[in-house]
């Protein structure tokens, strides 16, 4: 393990990508993620890589498509309205089975919304773009976890030849915390499918067009067999103080940290409250919620949105217990005391 360094979240995420062997970044400025491209515009040229400030998010995602098509590790980052534009290139990446890592530092919407932290892109992360496909979506709650997950993201992308979205929010991006970078060298993956010039082989084609309906159906079946594998192998979830919990909070990312503080306050008052924190938002840990639902009085889902992840929480719980919701939006961050009050109120009902 390397030494401990104090880093800002956005920069730590960028540095983790470089250490994962990513030498290409294509992006477009948007608040609150500008530290990622700014860091990359300096750092990548130091390691023999390339940085392009693209003309738009649409172009940036298609530059990623091109770099991934020749078999290189590549990433982009953006924030909510920009991610909407990136959905185009990323759908083509999924259709053409190209590994790309995209960081979404979420801000409030809809429309231009605001520039403060939010979690209102859960839908566009877990129900992405046009067509039947998935991103693997991972949501860090600390800078250290962001760094670790960022390095994992490139492996997941390469292993499954699919876009991976790291879903963070402005708090993760702006916070400073000590981090340690793993020092294992980037893993090698078979990329014989890449368009590297056809010397000594038949030509390769990177493509998502299937004009024959039978072929397109087969292609979708193929993608979903792959997604089945992802669901089998890659679900990550943290259960925090759930052993004796009578109430389960459900939250991801920054909100989960706030929930942990709230749980501390509640436990000090004698309330047995725990947290289920999905780390992968897709594949979603439905089974964990199913298991938990039999043991608790209710689940309180807390988000910085009007209630998006709650749909998946409900699918997991399958009406085995009540699922309540508490959310703040528009850049308003729930305070621990608000969550404490919600739990107390629900317990009193």
């Amino acid at each position: 393990m390397g030494e401990k360094i104090l880093m800002k979240g956005s920069e730590a995420i960028a540095e983790a990508a470089v250490r994962a062997g990513c030498k290409l970044f294509f992006g477009y400025p948007i608040t609150p993620q500008n530290e990622v491209p700014e860091y990359m515009s300096k750092r990548l040229f130091e390691v023999g890589g390339q940085f392009v400030q693209a003309e738009s998010e649409v172009a940036a995602s298609n530059m990623c498509y091109g770099a991934a098509a020749v078999g290189h590790r590549v990433m982009t980052s953006s924030s909510s309205p920009g991610v909407t534009l990136k959905q185009e290139g990323l759908s083509y990446c999924a259709g053409s089975e190209l590994p790309v890592v995209v960081v979404n530092v979420m801000r409030g919407g809809p429309g231009l919304g605001g520039i403060q932290p939010a979690q209102s892109d859960y839908f566009q992360a877990t129900r992405p773009g046009h067509g039947d496909f998935r991103y693997i979506v991972i949501a860090p709650a600390t800078i250290q976890e962001a760094v670790d997950l960022m390095m994992d993201a490139f492996d997941l992308a390469d292993r499954y030849r699919n876009p991976v979205m790291v879903l963070a929010d402005g708090l993760i991006g702006q916070m400073m915390e000590p981090v340690v970078f793993r020092e294992d060298p980037p893993k090698e993956y078979d990329k014989s499918w890449a368009c590297t010039g056809c010397a000594g082989r038949e030509k390769n084609i990177v493509n998502s067009l299937y004009l024959d309906p039978k072929d397109l159906e087969d292609h979708n079946f193929h993608l979903f067999r792959k997604y089945d594998e992802v669901e089998k192998n890659e679900i990550r979830v943290e259960e925090y103080l759930m052993e004796d919990a009578e109430v389960a909070l459900a939250a991801y990312g920054t909100t989960a940290r706030i929930c942990k503080t709230a749980i501390g306050l509640l436990r000090a008052q004698g309330f047995k409250v725990g947290l289920v924190r999905p780390i992968t938002l897709w594949p979603f840990p439905y089974r964990t919620f199913r298991k938990v639902a039999d043991r608790v009085r209710f689940v309180l889902d807390v988000e910085m949105s009007m209630g998006q992840m709650i749909q998946d929480v409900r699918l997991g719980v399958v009406e085995r217990c009540p699922v309540h919701f508490y959310g703040r939006v528009g850049g308003m961050v729930p305070a621990p005391v608000e969550i404490v009050q919600q739990v107390q109120r629900l317990l009193a009902e």
Binding site: Q50, N62, Y65, A69, V70, G197, A199, K203, N204, V206
Partner: protein, 261 residues
């Protein structure tokens, strides 16, 4: 027939044997062949990556016998940017029509040119959307009837805009190395076009190179192939003049020769 006869015109190695889906007399086939011939002439088939667009040439990945990437609509220059930034040693071309390049892909082409990305862009301009059934394109001539300009493109009363001249537009930028427009409307023109395409590919390592072809769309123009060529000769060339608009290398060579003299 004599086995000793010399074949002076043969099928290019870089073109696959797959018959194209193009309508009879469509000049996409000629443009494809010229690209393949340039790749052959430079001997770079095994390190070439082609990028095809959305539009009639969406299936071009089947027709070139080199590595091929299918881009989303208009984004081929962005995809090419990704390819060349990752692998500057590869030869990379995009092949795009007028709707793809001059409408939805306007931002991507302008900025790839402005960054002087070392790619070769082949732009087939036939003033119409072919694949979707003959709608008005950014290069449709004023007064030209299409399925979305049924009374003729009208820039004044219907606000339908004027034909965009891409080479001239790109020629306002500092970046590009080579900018040319060439017609495919006669055999003599095609011989000239062959030299232009080869020049563009040979200069790719220096920066952004761009060749616009003036072509036809007999089907959506509602004309026989020969008639379409004649119509384009008469009507399109006056709007889209032929020529090499920029050749930075030739200009530099000329300048240094003048200095020595």
């Amino acid at each position: 027939m004599d086995a000793n006869d010399t074949a002076v015109f043969t099928y290019p190695r870089s073109l696959s044997r797959t018959p194209t889906h193009y309508c009879p007399g469509c000049l996409h086939g000629v443009a494809h062949r010229l690209v393949a011939e340039a790749i052959d002439a430079l001997g770079v088939r095994e390190k070439t990556v082609g990028i095809c667009p959305v539009g009639c040439s969406v299936l071009a990945y089947k027709y070139f016998d080199c590595d091929m990437i299918e881009a989303s609509h208009g984004r081929a220059p962005a995809v090419a940017t990704g390819v060349k930034r990752a692998r500057p040693d590869l030869v990379c071309f995009t092949y795009q029509g007028d709707g793809d390049l001059a409408s939805i892909g306007m931002a991507e082409i302008i900025h790839a040119a402005n960054r002087n990305e070392p790619i070769t862009v082949i732009f087939y301009n036939n003033a119409i959307y072919g694949m979707t059934g003959g709608q008005m394109a950014p290069t449709t001539l004023v007064g030209m009837k299409t399925s979305t300009s049924p009374t003729g493109r009208d820039p004044i009363d219907r606000g339908a805009g004027y034909p965009i001249r891409m080479v001239e537009l790109l020629n306002t930028l500092e970046g590009p190395v080579y900018l040319a427009r060439q017609s495919l409307l006669s055999s003599a023109d095609i011989f000239r076009a062959r030299r232009v395409v080869q020049r563009a590919f040979s200069l790719q390592s220096k920066g952004f190179t761009f060749v616009e072809f003036v072509g036809t769309c007999p089907t959506n123009w509602g004309m026989a192939p020969v008639e379409a060529r004649e119509w384009a000769q008469k009507r399109m060339i006056e709007v889209f003049p032929i020529g090499v608009f920029r050749d930075r290398e030739a200009e530099a060579a000329k300048a240094s020769a003048a200095k020595e003299a």
